[in-house]
Assembly symmetry: C2
Homo-oligomer: 505 residues x 2
Amino acid sequence: MKLRSAFLAATTLIAVGSSAAFAKPGDPGREKVVAAIKADHDASIDRLRKWIALPTIANMNINHREGAEYMKQLVLDAGFQQAKIIDTAGVPGVFATLDAGAKDTLAIYFMYDVKHYDPAEWSSPPLEGKIVDRPGEGKALVGRGAVNQKGPETAFLTALRAFKTSGVKLPVNLVFVAEGEEEIASPNFSQVVTQPEVKAALEKAVGIIIPSASQSVDGQVTLLLGAKGAVELQLISSGEKWGRGPTKDVHSSLKANVDSPVWHLIKALNTLVSEDGQTPAIDGWYDNVKPLTARQKELIAADVAAGNEADDMKTLGIKHWYKDEDYLTASYRLAEQPTINIQGLVSGYMGPGGKTVLPGRAEAKIDLRLVPDMTKDEVISKLKAHLAKRGFGDIEVNVSGGYGPNQTDENSPLIKAEQATLADAKIPATLSARSAGSWPGVVFTGPPLHLPAGQFGAGRGGGAHAPDEWLLIESTNPKVVGFDGQAVLYADFLYEVARTAKKKN
Amino acid sequence: MKLRSAFLAATTLIAVGSSAAFAKPGDPGREKVVAAIKADHDASIDRLRKWIALPTIANMNINHREGAEYMKQLVLDAGFQQAKIIDTAGVPGVFATLDAGAKDTLAIYFMYDVKHYDPAEWSSPPLEGKIVDRPGEGKALVGRGAVNQKGPETAFLTALRAFKTSGVKLPVNLVFVAEGEEEIASPNFSQVVTQPEVKAALEKAVGIIIPSASQSVDGQVTLLLGAKGAVELQLISSGEKWGRGPTKDVHSSLKANVDSPVWHLIKALNTLVSEDGQTPAIDGWYDNVKPLTARQKELIAADVAAGNEADDMKTLGIKHWYKDEDYLTASYRLAEQPTINIQGLVSGYMGPGGKTVLPGRAEAKIDLRLVPDMTKDEVISKLKAHLAKRGFGDIEVNVSGGYGPNQTDENSPLIKAEQATLADAKIPATLSARSAGSWPGVVFTGPPLHLPAGQFGAGRGGGAHAPDEWLLIESTNPKVVGFDGQAVLYADFLYEVARTAKKKN
């Protein structure tokens, strides 16, 4: 997941009670469900390990169909009454429903793909799911997808299985959608959710969550109310498309009378941002940018007050924020400002020293971060128009993925139910106004669905996209729950969604 | 060798006579020398093959000392009375002298290093020196260094050996200097030629040549009167040196409040050239640029008149010269204009698609081409001052090699002797005003030596810096000479140098 809840810090810590203390009077069958979760522990971990052993990697064409079939079977086994694979132009999606005869419906979003990995960098095989000791934390399972996102997703399915095996009626109906391209910015996921049948099912939901395990070492959970959008693209200048300069690399002595596609790209890039390399300068870029609200600033200020600027800077390897702004101003900017980032440059000779070539091609890898109310289509067309107007219309804009920003109302029943569930579990929670990182929530929060959406869960893990990715299975840290606690929290959340929706009705 | 005598074409072809017809009356012992060259043929090719088997590759730290020792032994075997290795800050040079008791002295420059190679791209092992058929041309030896430059150099040494073995007195004294870093732009060669002993010996010479085999398929040889200088450098922007931005790659969502070393580099590069990406815009860059003389334009116009624009464009993969200039204007520009070329760009993520990083480092690989009277030191200090003045003083200017331009008077005895030798051999020759490519001739043509200098030789080869580099050993093309013919031409050149110098005196 491309989630980064930047610079959020724990609020005053409240002791976390045992999972048995979560229950509210009147949650029918909860004790049976909790017992079933505990009885299912070993089998659950085994299911997680088997799922990890089948990695779907979107951009490497690994296990696209197999991953979708596996995902479908997992939800059927967990109690969904129907599940089907939804083909897209890319990796297939999965759609499933569980009608519990309840009044309200909750939607669930899963990603079944994982980031690629290099086994040489891991201390145990990335597909093995080895259990290791984490000093001061407990026992953790190590594997690609452990926390991002198969681990928390497995905990959610374990909760559903517990209802099923203990014969307890689910408090809410469920609609399930999954994709296998989250790690490449969900290029085709809207094709899944706009299928008439899928859309009709989702429209009934009070909101949608993706399971996550994001407790800090102090036990704190951050609830994201929004995230910037992200569009990834490559700008490619080539002699072939330009019709000037060489179609291949030629000897560099020819620079005097042969045009250079590399300089052409540099000149184009130069127009995209302000002189200090920071502020987007594309025509009309700010037309739809909304400033932060007073409430969003209040939430950010609360985070900043509890944060540690020196630690943040040290982690990032920086000495100054942009323009030497203070921590609060820099944090406002992080949430508020759209960005144009260069991820990488590729052209000509890239080995040690030099080589006398005039390259026929140059590429800049770019990501655009979008804030409300910018949209993906808007920024791509504005970028293209900007380039064309300045004589760079030949430069290819190769969009490899992306989506707009998302924002969810903190007063929506979904967020209220999340807060209530965590409060009952004595897990401290803060609201994040907006993550500078991105996730494809706009598929749900934007038109036509307009659903509240966000990640949700307890438990703890780390190493997403990195070697030795892990999820805490048995926690010795009283502030953090282990795998069973994660599943219990999801069971309690289902009760709470029904309760909150009832209040609202 | 970084030689490119761009856009030169054959003048009206004159039939090439047999090598026996080269002689002028009064060249004492010439027939014995020619016979000795022919008798030495197989042994000469064997020496070339053995030399090729010991590649010196400057930037890969391969055979630095071994190559110098081998070079020294080769010249001692060819008749030099003393030879010594001259240590430098890099790969060692070699200095040798041969006092024939003659009135005049000729200097010889060798490179004993070769370009690196990938055996997988070759049709026979690059160090084997296999003899292969070239349809329509004859038998060629394939190996790294075959034409660039061990083949022609071996032919020159074969000529010297022939004088020695046949007991014929050399018509001129010889001074020999060699380097093992030509392929990385001779960063330390001036340390060799400015050694007092070396300098004193070189000062006696009428001029200096590097052996070359550059006949076209029509038999034509081009005599370079000058070449642009070249400086290779890498511009490196990093969070570490800048003191802003990250010291490593961080998540790209942070672009809003973290400065980007990549954008910093793009903004710096943007200032180096005009808006169309072509004309250098560094402060004071043109202060010492001399326009072409009427004579230089005349020589270029003659080349262009005999050239084929469509073929040149096809070879380069271009459809237009810069600014849609005509062939002649573009050719003037090629010779006259200094350039700033980007050889390559390196930053952040460079694989397929994208990756959400904000890189901590970005590098542009640059070469500068210099025309008279620009100097290497001048352009480096102007580049640094230009960057510093605009707030880019933190960007590292890592100079990996280079030298200034060179120019030799077409009326010098060296060029006159070259022309006379070729005319006697009925090999058509044209004068090139200036190559846009570069070679370190300025070490000789510049202060303190001010020697006429250039490549010289007959014979034919190709594939310099590329796979399957070759040198024609036995020519079936009557317009082109083979290996023995190359050696005979060098013998005749030695006679001619003495004769021309005598006329001059």
